[in-house]
Symmetry: C2
Subunit: 339 residues, 2 copies
């Protein structure tokens, strides 16, 4: 089969790869219905995270179980399933309290930008939909594998509560779905920070009540002005740079919450500064598995349509164009359909 | 009057100072029943925090209201009161959600190691006891002004819950009272980290179930061993150094909580490292004012005796010896009684 392999900065190739096989009896093989390019794929694509060797790309996936290992009990061939970018046994102490992305057995599920994918710990990682979904629901289901679950975790980690004021730092797909999550959790005011017009439009569609285009210190000043000098109750950090992290922390009121899900790159926090902000800080790789049953229900019942973040759909073989479009910010998020 | 003034590293003088007076109508003057030396006083005493000019010392206090400004309504002369080390109006948006130490009008109450003290914003800062307390209750009431409130906040910020496993990093007075707080909140297991024998004894008396003497990476390994590789649910950081902070974060299970109250000195947190720990982080200067009514009740009714942290009592004029004894770790905490 052919899949996406990253060789180095801006060098993604669609090339022959070994067809995945069951390695352990707890594995499953999925026939990918749709995959996509993640904002976090851009770190190595841009050369910011080094690429030691040619790396099969893609960690967001949904599709039909093609084959299940002999020990797999909870899913079976023919079912449509969604899983997290980290596998989990869903039984260890960390999984039991809802931190499946810190599962004692977790590993990164890699190589999803391909027609077939091996998923380890299938029982603890995959969740089946009630039935085979209609084709137009697939983009929304795909987001549950990472971006929607990550936006949801950001809002959850930021303690979003009904009626409260929420700020979302970052207008990528995760930030936009953080806006949607905050709305679902009943936020009273949702201020999206971003300067890109098509994204502002989608942010408003998802529930943003205000847009702030300034960033850094100026952005913080705007938030303070808009909140009578108090700051926001909950701030979602969905980028992962020093500027965005400090923007998030400084926009939060004392006693407020920052939920940070942007994978930090070169972020350093000064303990003394943080101390006097009085914020709650929580984040990390989203425990997507925790939220899958609930979010599948919301998509299945037509309550949410997070698939709107895909503004570019390409056949899988054009995966390199998907990376380019996202890198150049021509696309929010690229959906890839194997033929 | 004579009070303590810090001139520079290890140079505390008991010398003539101006007698405090009402400056604003919201001020009160307190006749100090007891004051003490704080662990945080040792930072400038040791020259770690610079001392720009001779500085009146002391920010923990209780005593009788001597005089109240014309606008003061909630306390009156003759009442015994306790206040926080930060003044607060107790009405601003930050105070209203319980973060009085981030009050929009807060200022440090300084110069309490003296017979008289000016407290700004008396209405929002001071809480009166039900009556004049017996003399032997004064040490415990004094701790509510800072160390007990701070230990309590550490446990609260660390989300201590009944039956859970708690680690306390730091065996100073705050750490010891963090142990007491965790016990009151119903913790199932309380592991105190410290290597000083008299402090271990007091930790056990306050409710510690285990003592770990190792620190840094070795300390973390011990905690992991003791928790079947999981880590603690709640960790109280009561020191403020890089080693203690990392020890706290690394001892916490994914999804667990770190409550940090040691004023950070030179602490830098790597965003990427923190991200993958999945911990909740919350702390800062304790909003002592929030807890005063509840904690006064506990002391008044004999439920707790946090004053046991004072293992040295000196007349105020020997304040310099109090600093020396704490600096050399001969004393956990020195109580100072004006004559």
């Amino acid at each position: 089969m052919k899949g996406a392999v990253l060789y180095g900065p801006r060098d993604v190739r669609f090339e022959e790869r070994e067809t995945p096989k069951i390695v352990k009896p707890t594995d499953a093989i999925i026939r990918i219905a749709a995959a996509c390019v993640c904002g976090s794929d851009l770190w190595p694509y841009r050369g910011i995270s080094p690429v030691a060797q040619p790396t099969p790309m893609g960690h967001e996936y949904c599709g039909i179980v093609e084959e299940a290992g002999s020990a797999v009990r909870s899913v079976k061939p023919g079912q449509f399933v969604i899983g997290s970018f980290f596998s989990s046994d869903n039984t260890c102490p960390h999984c039991q309290i809802g931190y499946q992305s810190s599962c004692q057995q977790h590993e990164l599920v890699g190589g999803a930008q391909a027609p077939l994918l091996r998923v380890p710990l299938a029982d603890g990682t995959l969740v089946a939909t009630p039935d085979i979904p209609p084709d137009d629901m697939i983009p929304s289901l795909l987001t549950l594998s990472d971006v929607m679950g990550t936006g949801w975790f950001a809002a959850d980690a930021a303690g979003v509560k009904p009626g409260k004021t929420v700020v979302v730092v970052g207008d990528g797909a995760v930030g936009l779905l953080g806006v949607l999550s905050a709305r679902l959790m009943g936020a009273g005011r949702i201020i999206a920070m971003g300067r890109h017009e098509p994204r502002q439009k989608l942010a408003r569609e998802f529930g943003a009540t205000d847009i702030v285009t300034e960033r850094g210190g100026e952005g913080v000043s705007r938030i303070k002005e808009m909140t009578e000098g108090i700051g926001a109750d909950s701030v979602l950090e969905c980028v992962g740079t020093q500027v965005s992290m400090m923007q998030a922390i400084s926009s939060t009121r004392p006693g407020g919450h920052v939920g940070y899900v942007g994978v930090p790159h070169g972020v350093k926090l000064d303990g003394g500064e943080l101390f006097f902000t009085h914020v709650h800080l929580h984040g990390g790789p989203a425990p997507v598995r925790r939220y899958l049953p609930e979010l599948i229900g919301l998509v299945w019942n037509g309550k949410i349509n997070p698939g709107k973040v895909f503004d570019l759909t390409l056949p899988l073989e054009q995966v390199a164009e998907g990376y380019r479009a996202m890198d150049e910010r021509r696309a929010i998020k690229a959906l890839l359909r194997p033929q």
